[in-house]
Symmetry: C2
Subunit: 128 residues, 2 copies
């Protein structure tokens, strides 16, 4: 599996736009990184602190792939030691439609689902 | 990675509906199987013949997972030897929105993308 994945990385499986999109973001983590960036997270540290506990080696790998795919850009905000911030490109922001469709399906079909914003609002309310 | 996947199979990473949906269909193959079923494919043999060349062990695994998740149902259409056909449930048909969003993003951002229907129409046209 891993060897196969390495071999096919970057190769398109077909001209189908569903397959092509999944070649780029069809894994358990990439769209969670995009979700967090849509919520304003920009640094490696912020992205590493997702509630799903993304392993840091996977985060580094996916950020590199997303940058290669033109979905995020990386800019240095500090030189010593080097620190970067990540921003969604237009191509990355366009993943919003897919994200909204994932949210709708999850909320309809997975009991107990609530978005990060809803969870934050609930926490805030329970404090008062 | 494989051990990790086995360990976390079935466990939800968070209450986020994006994460929950990706826990179920967030891989390079599941939504391609759903795509083919939306185009009328119902048997293992038909699904194995996708243009992306899905490995048969992965097809069998994903069909089992999709059945466990209530996205497809499996019915025997022949007893000796046993043969099954697969049908999308309502929950499975509801993945259509996600599929359409993947299509739109792919057609906009991946040069040369065309849907299977468009590819078939082009082949037909070139014959005449």
């Amino acid at each position: 599996m891993i060897a196969k994945d390495k071999k096919t990385r970057g190769a398109r499986r077909s001209s189908c736009p569903v397959a092509g999109t999944l070649d780029i973001v069809g894994d358990r983590w990439s769209l969670l990184i995009v979700r967090d960036m849509r919520h304003g997270k920009r640094t490696y540290g912020e992205l590493a602190a997702s509630p799903e506990g993304i392993p840091t080696n996977i985060l580094a790998d996916r950020l590199r792939r997303l940058e290669e795919a033109g979905i995020v850009t990386r800019d240095a905000y500090q030189e010593h030691p080097p620190r970067y911030e990540y921003t969604l490109t237009e191509k990355g922001r366009d993943l919003g439609d897919i994200m909204q469709a994932l949210v709708r399906w999850g909320k309809k079909h997975i009991p107990g689902s609530r978005t990060l914003s809803e969870a934050a609002a609930a926490r805030e309310k329970s404090k008062n």
